[in-house]
Symmetry: C2
Subunit: 574 residues, 2 copies
């Protein structure tokens, strides 16, 4: 298509509200328009990118025997009441009543709809396994949309649901889906995406993986073992510790610690390491504001996902009142007299000679011996794994923590939805059983943004050929020169008629404007027809990533370009 007809504007200035590069380029390049917080319209260049991504997903889902279906965006509350998630999911789910006052919700995920669709079909074991998927709009009322298309409220998602008659069959299919996901990332030009163990969150189920693009602007933290290859979202990573207790336990002694409120202040005052302290972190349950006091080694942080999973409910940092019996800043496990659930992190197990609060204003204890002084405590893993920490698989101090964008996830759901929604089948022996499910999701827009985030320079995105809005950007510099225009027009036609997707810039603008627009559109190949080149009987043929710069004879330039594009496209085929 002709660039001068392309709807959307490109400009130089980085918008003030864009904190990540992909967002800035999407706005500056005429890819998206902000409609409301976390809600965007897409212009044609982005639509062309997402359609290609969707087609790659479709092909890969079909290859693992997926059947494309479509669930509704708007669903009756009833099917979410069946699964129990109408209650358990909070404000992220948009709810409204229709004209007859029937409660409806907007789909933020479609496990319920999937079970609803197939529960009559899947009544005998012979129908299994099967997988259905859709590519459809979802709405999730995120509290904090951010970073352009990285975290939005309305998005298009490829979501797939598989149904099985045994855990072994699910696991086998889960591996196939994992491989299909690897192929998808490779084909869209992100072979560097890695999978990590993840927390299953509101989805339920046990084993799950997230696919992560490692980048400093990611909102997830990923623990990676540089030795054995273990990888997990920090939320899901077990925290292993090997600090030994002291050989000899000192006496529990109350000391005056005026003006010391944080564990750092107290330890500095008492001249000990924070690792030699027992810190209290206090939360309240969202449902009833009841208190949860968690004791953990002073140098560690609480992994709130683990805590939430342990408690089975949502929590928030506590607001400590006088009536609670909790003495803020001086909380300790000895003599704590508060209405609260009290928990202990494994980092404290068997530890001694610790500093801790004395549950009395301006007083701490030294010489705390957990085994001696806190009888009957149960220890669980609530701590966040740290950079330099111990790998829970190989046991070495080889963990690094990196930031990443989650660009996909897969879950072994078990029978959570089939059981709650009463989907059963008769097995080979005539017994009624609940099918076992897996689910597999990728957000289309976020993946597009992740590609731009991973592949860009200071001037714009560098789209991989497989998902680029066009394959060739043809610039006719000085198209007011009839010779230039005639040659460029002919080249445009030759390329188009060979099935090459060309964006053709024959505007009467400077080469500078032309090239900066081309940089923003990020088309992988560029052909420049200009008076200077023309004089030498050539056109310039370059790649957006600057690794290639050739001159092609005027005669035969089209064939060369076609050959190069086709060869490169083949590299993305799996």
């Amino acid at each position: 298509m002709k660039l001068d007809k392309l709807v959307g504007e490109r400009f130089k200035e980085k918008p003030a509200d864009c904190v990540v590069d992909s967002h800035a380029f999407m706005v500056r390049g005429g890819y998206v328009k902000y409609v409301a917080n976390g809600i965007f319209s897409s212009f044609t260049p982005l639509k062309r990118v997402t359609k290609k991504i969707e087609q790659i997903m479709r092909e890969e889902m079909d290859l693992i025997d997926g059947q494309e279906v479509q669930f509704p965006v708007v669903m009756p509350a009833s099917i979410w009441q069946e699964s129990g998630r109408y209650k358990s999911i909070g404000k992220e789910m948009a709810r409204f009543n229709d004209r007859n006052n029937s409660p409806l919700v907007l789909g933020m995920t479609h496990e319920e709809a999937a079970v609803h669709l197939v529960r009559e079909y899947g009544q005998t074991y012979a129908k299994y396994p099967f997988m259905i998927y859709q590519i459809q709009t979802k709405f999730r009322d995120e509290a904090r949309p951010r970073a352009g298309l990285i975290r939005v409220r309305e998005f298009t998602m490829k979501d797939a649901y598989s149904f099985h008659t045994s855990q072994a069959d699910l696991e086998q299919y889960y591996d196939k889906a994992h491989k299909a996901y690897e192929r998808i990332y490779a084909r869209v030009g992100l072979p560097e995406v890695i999978s990590v163990k993840s927390d299953s969150g509101m989805m339920g189920g046990s084993i799950s993986h997230e696919f992560m693009l490692l980048t400093a602007i990611g909102e997830d933290s990923i623990a990676i073992c540089n030795d054995c290859g273990y990888r997990a979202n920090v939320e899901a990573a077990e925290c292993v510790l090997d600090a030994p207790a002291n050989a000899k336990s000192e006496k529990l002694t109350k000391v005056h610690t005026p003006n010391g409120h944080t564990i750092e202040e107290v330890c500095a005052f008492l001249k000990c390491e924070t690792a030699a302290s027992c810190k209290a972190v206090v939360y309240q349950r969202n449902a009833d504001d009841s208190y949860v006091v968690l004791f953990i080694r002073g140098d560690l942080e609480v992994n709130e996902t683990k805590l939430t999973n342990y408690l089975g409910c949502d929590i928030h940092p506590a607001v400590i009142t006088e009536e609670s019996g909790i003495v803020a800043g001086f909380i300790g496990p000895v003599g704590l007299n508060a209405k609260a659930t009290v928990l202990y992190d494994r980092s404290l197990q068997n530890m001694n000679n610790l500093v801790c609060g004395a549950n009395e204003n301006d007083y701490h204890y030294t010489g705390l011996d957990m085994a001696r002084d806190v009888k009957g405590a149960e220890y669980n893993d609530f701590a966040k794994i740290v950079d330099g920490g111990i790998c829970p698989v190989c046991g070495k101090h080889s963990i690094t923590v990196s930031r990443g964008i989650e660009v996909g996830n897969i879950f072994q759901l078990g029978t959570k939805y089939t059981k709650s929604m009463g989907m059963t089948y008769l097995d080979n022996d005539g017994n009624s059983q609940y099918p076992i499910m897996g689910c597999y999701g990728i957000g289309v827009g976020r993946l597009a943004a992740a590609i731009a985030e991973a592949h860009h320079d200071g001037y714009g995105p560098i789209w991989p050929l497989s998902v680029a809005p066009w394959q060739v950007h043809l610039c006719a510099v000085r198209a007011d020169d009839p010779e230039i225009k005639a040659y460029a027009d002919k080249l445009y036609e030759s390329l188009q008629s060979s099935g090459i997707e060309v964006i053709y810039d024959d505007r009467n603008v400077s080469a500078g404007v032309m090239f900066s627009d081309a940089d923003l559109l990020g088309v992988p190949y560029r052909v420049i027809v200009s008076p200077r080149n023309m004089k030498s009987g050539v056109v310039e043929f370059t790649s957006r990533d600057k690794t290639m710069k050739e001159t092609l004879e005027l005669n035969g330039a089209a064939d060369e370009v076609i050959k190069t594009v086709r060869a490169e496209l083949n590299k993305f085929k799996m």
Copy 2:
């Protein structure tokens, strides 16, 4: 794909709630599953049909220089407040508040979003004309969803919006869009769809057309002139009358008409035709319940669309109270003493010797002469055109009224949205102007249902090849016979590897079950491999519409099938 793996169930019994054939076949053939009133999930066969329809739309929109974009499903109320439709549209629009209490709506059409997307882009005349379109989910909270996919609440729509700098340019483009629509209907196998003049309704604007599939189950009435070809939705058709007045006016005379409440009863009692009466039809405005009394010739019906357009507001049939001053059953234009807007249909203009109510219980007048007795009345067209009526174009009594399903519409919107939303451009002379818009919509699911409605027999749909879920239905009757199975497997592979879309039934079921399933899936070509045919060294090759039944030599059958499918596919190319 293998039929025994196809998710979804097919069955014989017509579901009780299916009143139209396309709905029954969609349910019986495993195309859709009911989720809630007017909300369905689609199984793979329907998804395959709609994807093909969407691709045809996309190609035709691109051919008229459309650029595919995507608007959000969820929009902030603010852009609908700008256009004024947040107020003017009633309960059909779903509204809810997000977690921050900001009002949001679900898109039921996207004029506002289109203007929002391009109002910065379209600031100078040189950018015009342009057209943007999307294929996206919409939600319209219909009061009465019906007939399966014909009238639903959630649907996928192709909606396009064009922007122009002159009415002439809009009209030229509107014609192009009209032709593109004709090509779309022809390519999906519905060349019989006709366009009719329509009412613009809530869209605003002046000229508009609907595309109609004529069928007895349609919910629209269409007036067609069999002489000159005039076609209009009855809602929009002018009602022309040529009944002459009597030569001599009689005296206005009050007569006692006990027990006669309807105009038919009164006319029967007074022994005159209803056409010789002046009937009153009473409405109330929705906003304030104020009364509207409309007088019309007794044998005609009110076209409420015309009345609504005239009043500029919504109305409902009146509940007449005593305080209103309206004497129900005896309302007439002489001596009417009521707080009401009084309107006169053109059918009464210059008429005389009419019967009408006397605004007094149990009394009517005879001998009403409108010109003599109702001074200063203004006459407008409020009547419904009738079968056998007069064509407003050629003037002949040549109108027939038929039922139709609306399968698309195009509107000349004018500046309604650009003006209200403050979108302007600088023209060639540097003056600020409002762009002129057109919009163009087709519902994807309804079109699929219309195709099934137009093309089916007693056993299922007969999909046109261009949109069929698969191209060839391969039946291996007695696939337990190794020779049958081996041949059919090979044929399946040959066809698939040539790019033919095959659904392959190698289940261990009777030929009867196989064929009735095949009829429900409606695949246009069928190949039957069976022991009997095998013995004769042939396979059977038939068409779903029963117009073709051939035998093909085992050797070379694949080539014959491929040739036939490709030749037929070519017929759908424009």
